[in-house]
Amino acid sequence: MIANVFQVYEKVKGKAKEVILSLINQEREGDQIDRTAVKNVLSMFVELGVQAEPLKLYQTDFETFMLENTDAHYSRKASKHVSENTCAEYLFMAEECLRREKDRATYYLDASSESKLLEKTQHQLLYVHAKQILEKESSGLHVLLRDNKEEDLSRMFRLYSKIDKGLELISAIFKEHVSSVGLALIKEAADGTRDKKVENRGNAGLQEKVFVNKVIELHDKYLNHCNNCFMGNSLFHKALKEGFEAFLNKEIAGASIAELLSTFCDSFLQKGSEVEKLGEDVIEETIEKVVRLVAYIHEKDLFAEFSRKKLARRLLSDRSANIEHEKRLLSKLKQQFGTYFTSKMEGMVTDLTLARDLQLEFKNYIRDNPNETGGVDFSVTVLTTGFWPTYKSVDFNFPGEFFVCIDAFKTFYNCKTNQRKLNWIFSQGSCHLAGNFKKKKIELNLSTYQAATLLLFNTEERITFKEISNELKLPIEEMKRVLHSLSCGKYKILLKEPENNRIISADDVFVFNENFTDRMARIKIPLPNLEEKKKVIEDVDKERKYTIDAALVRIMKSRKVLGHQELVRECIEMLNRMFKPDVKIIKRRIEDLVGRDYLTRDEENANAYKYVA
């Protein structure tokens, strides 16, 4: 009886297979088939299986052919659709096919076939043409990303997470997309600066703001994609990081992004920016986002130094909108980049609070001794050297009005503390003078040097450059800058003779412009800052030398003997958090350390160094 069954099986198996395969094909084309019948016939293959290998007949006589058939079917389907469909349509189709195949497997195939069936389908539909599908010129991943097609992106992720190296491929395209969009922003900003160079600098900071806001927007968008469409997969976070690093380490018209970001923070935290109207949570969020961008730039030390200079200016000229916001930014930076990164800036903030207390005390002191300052409203900000940027302190011959005030403060200060030396930095001071012009009285907001210069005109009407210079004893360049701001700028408080050019020369004569007037009752006369940027970069370069030296010595101290390449590598690794040191500079520093006998070359191997204790 049993033998009979097998004879029958041998006769019908071929035919049965053919029929089922053609039914499957029909179903794939969209026809209705009798699924129960197929299931029943297929159960024959399984039920005849022997104990030892229950699925042998099913596999050799049916499954192999079925899989081959699947392979061929989807190979055809893929080649047809890949050229006809858009990327999104194709993926939709692929997902649909996979769903149907899965359904098919559950319904009438043996359970063991499901994974193989899906494997074949995925391979043909997604793997074989992966590049072609994803990089479709007018509808591929680039376009989906550009147009925020979240649903399609999610689908793509779902499908390709099952494909070998699928996510690597997508994340690589993702990274390339992010960096190319970023680079386009950089180019746009650079073109913008070039075009607007001629226009006045009234809206300085605006360009930075626009650019940084765009970058933040970009980051929001792609971070969103990472988390929502790409399920927070680490490959994509890495791609996002690398994509941003690729363009945030470029320059825009000679300015590094480090500088732009610090300028952005500066205008964000300044009084009078529209930020003051924003809610606390928006401010908090923006701060967090900027810090996240800082993480992408290699020259973090440059950002820190620019920020420190700008913070100093905000604090000293009372331009900071809200000290709590300053603190919040610092704490975010500290959290992200470590204590060392912000220690000086935090010191400055605390220092200023102490200085304010002292100012209050002095005010009370003056209230009790009103004659000490000769009626001038006077305050001094006492700071700790070390936290603050170094300012040139030029001794100059200040007018008597100042002298009284300074003396009063000295008396006050010496009573409070002893053994402390005050170092006066007039260049950072400011002064309000009442200008009695013919038409009306205008309050002038000036720097100390500007004020000292104008006060000379209380007694003389016409003063030559040489006389002013002799009187104030300021360095010539400084003197020229001050006089330029008073006679050649927007507000001409002084009239220059000859007035034909806008260059101050030693033979010029200056006259008080009593006819000056302005619609405002109070004006600030700007004194352009000297090349501050150059100084920041110089300072950072200098600081880097010390930092590299320290890192090299630290490494060598622990390793004693180390090959050149390893030393360079470890040094870069150690400093990575602050900046990306140039290999050539490291080499120079090593040479310098060899010259200073901290290191010597190993006698056995000229490519290795020894630590000299």
């Binding site: 050149h564 390449q565 040479e591 060899v594 056995e604 000229a606």
Partner: protein
């Protein structure tokens, strides 16, 4: 040969130098003394004179270690007032004399240093140049950009690459003929 009897002869100084260097210990004092003796000689004879006197009597072609010792001595001679580094002019004069026939790119090197180096030459650069001259051929083969060469040598190589690529077809670098048999790095303890 020496114009005054107070002067220690250059032979004497050299042999004392070799004596000090062959003992492996820090001999700053002794070297400083020797440097003073050398400075006394400068009143009567120049470094170049001294080298010209000394060189024919030293059998420098025999082994590379002996030459390396002598090469170090030349740097030592050029130091002024106990300074660690020597001036570019002195270094170039000395190189032209002692590396003649030993370094295929000598002329190019001296020309490059004269034109591009503004700082003094430190001892390490001096010593590494000898190693460089021994292991690098005139086509710069044998130079490893990842190696620990002093920056000046790296820059020289870059400079040479630029020159050769700009007139690659016509002129080849003309080096001087020399038997460079001593590619072995040497250690300083066998004198």
């Amino acid at each position: 040969m020496d114009s005054s009897d107070n002067n220690t002869s250059i032979f004497e100084i050299y042999s004392r130098y070799c004596g000090i260097r062959s003992v492996k210990h820090d001999a700053k004092e002794e070297l400083a003394q020797l440097l003073k003796l050398l400075e006394l000689r400068r009143k009567a004879s120049s470094i170049v004179d001294d080298l010209n006197t000394l060189m024919p009597y030293l059998d420098l072609t025999v082994d590379s270690c002996r030459f390396a010792r002598f090469y170090d001595f030349v740097f030592f001679m050029c130091r002024k007032n106990g300074q660690k580094n020597i001036t570019v002019t002195k270094a170039i004069d000395a190189w032209k004399l002692v590396l003649k026939g030993r370094f295929r790119l000598l002329n190019e090197w001296c020309g490059f240093v004269e034109k591009h180096q503004r700082h003094n030459i430190p001892e390490d650069t001096w010593q590494q140049l000898l190693a460089f001259s021994r292991c690098v051929h005139e086509d710069l083969e044998g130079y490893d950009p990842k190696g620990a060469w002093p920056v000046l040598i790296d820059e020289f190589v870059d400079h040479m690459y630029r020159i050769t690529s700009s007139n690659s077809s016509s002129t080849r670098i003309r080096g001087c003929n020399c038997g460079d048999s001593e590619a072995e790095p040497c250690r300083s303890d066998d004198s």
